[in-house]
Subunit: 203 residues, 2 copies
Amino acid sequence: MTELEKGPKGRRRGRGARERILSASRELFTQQGVNRTGMDQLCAVAQVSKRTVYDHFSSKDELVAEYLRRFDPSVLGGLFDRTDLAPRERMLAAFNIPPTTPLCPYIGAAVELHDPEHPASRFARDHKLAVARRFADTAREAGAADPDELGEQLALLLDGATARTRVLNADAFPTAKAIATVLIDNAIATAPEDEPVTDDTTS
Amino acid sequence: MTELEKGPKGRRRGRGARERILSASRELFTQQGVNRTGMDQLCAVAQVSKRTVYDHFSSKDELVAEYLRRFDPSVLGGLFDRTDLAPRERMLAAFNIPPTTPLCPYIGAAVELHDPEHPASRFARDHKLAVARRFADTAREAGAADPDELGEQLALLLDGATARTRVLNADAFPTAKAIATVLIDNAIATAPEDEPVTDDTTS
DNA sequence: CGTTAGGTACACCGTTCTGTGTGGTTACGG
DNA sequence: CCGTAACCACACAGAACGGTGTACCTAACG
C-alpha cells in the first residue's frame, strides 16, 4: 500500500521502520495466520531488526492489535461511501469479493487468539458490528423494512461466505450474493412507504 | 460421552486409554483450539502417560485428524434422519443450536492448521460438503426448486452463524434461521409441481 | 501360574518461539 | 559539527513445544 514497503537498495533501510513492520504484518498475518508467523520471519520480510520491532511494539500481541486496527478503513470502508451506486447495488457490491482475500483477518484472529478479552478480539468485534451497521444504514437508505435486521443478515452472509470459502477452498461469495439479493428485494418490496422505489415494482 | 471418561479413583487408570485420549481431545481442542492445547496438558486431562498417547497415535496431527473424524456422526448426523419432522422443519431444526457449541471444530481446525492438504482439513471439507448434501436431499424431499442450490445456501448460513457467533460472542443462529425460513419457503412456494404442499400457499 | 499386551513414570532431545541485552552505526535537527 | 533519536547486528535467555527412550508395573487371559 505505502511507498515505503521495500527498502531502496539493500544498504540502510532507513527511518520508515514502523510502517515496514506493519506492512509486513499485513502481508504475513493475512496469508499465514498470526500463530504461524514468527517474529524472526516478520523481521526478515520487513527488513527490520528484531530490536526495532520491540522498540515500537511492546509485544507481539500489541502488534497484532495494531495490525487489525489498521485494517478497518481499507477493506469495506470505501464501498459504502460510493455515491455512484444505488443503495441496493452498494449492498450487493459488498459480495463481489474475488478469491484474492484469503480470510477475513478478524475471523482468523479471533479463532487463533481464542481469547475474547484480547484487544485484537475486541477490534474484531467492533469491526463486525461496524459492518453490520453500515449495511443497516444503507438498508435504511434503500427504504427497507427493519433495516437493522437486514444489516445483521447481510453481515452474517458475508461471514458465512468468508468462512466457507476458506474451509472448502472454493468461492462461496456468489451463493451469498444470491441470498442477499433475495433478502434485499424482499425487504424493499414489502416497505414501499417512504421512498419511491425507482425500478421494477411490478408483479 | 463414554462412561470411561474419568478414571475411577486416582490409582490405576486402566485399559481405556485410547478413549480417554479422544475424550480429552474433544474437550480441549474444541474449547481451546488445537494449537493452544499442548500434548502435556492433554495427557494430564486424559490421565494418560505421554508415552501411551504416542503408542496410539503416531503424531499430534494424526490425533487431530482422528478427533475430527469422530465428530461426524454426533453433530448433525441424527437430525436429518428424524422422521417425526416434515422436511421443512427438519431443515429449520438445524439452526436450533444453543450457545453451547463454541465453534464448529472443522472451521477452527481449518483456520488453525492452515494447510489444505492436512488430513484434518480434508475431513473438514468432506464434512461441510456432506452437510450441504444432506440439506440438498432434504430440500429435494420438500419439493424445492433447485434443491442443490438451497442446500448450499443453508450450509452457508450455518457456517456464517457459527463464525459470527464466535467473533461477536453473541448468538447469531436466530438470524440465520430467519433467513433460512425465507429461502426455504421461497423455494418451496415457487415449485409446487411434484409434491402437494400441505400448508398456506395463499397470498 | 506365567506370559504379554497395555499402561506408567520421568528424564530428556532438538526445535521453535517470544522477548532482551549490548554495543555499535547512521541520519537528521539545531 | 555535535547531540540525539532511530536503527542495526547478533547472541542469548527462558519457556513451550512435539516427540522419544528406558525401565518398570499390572491387569487380564490362557
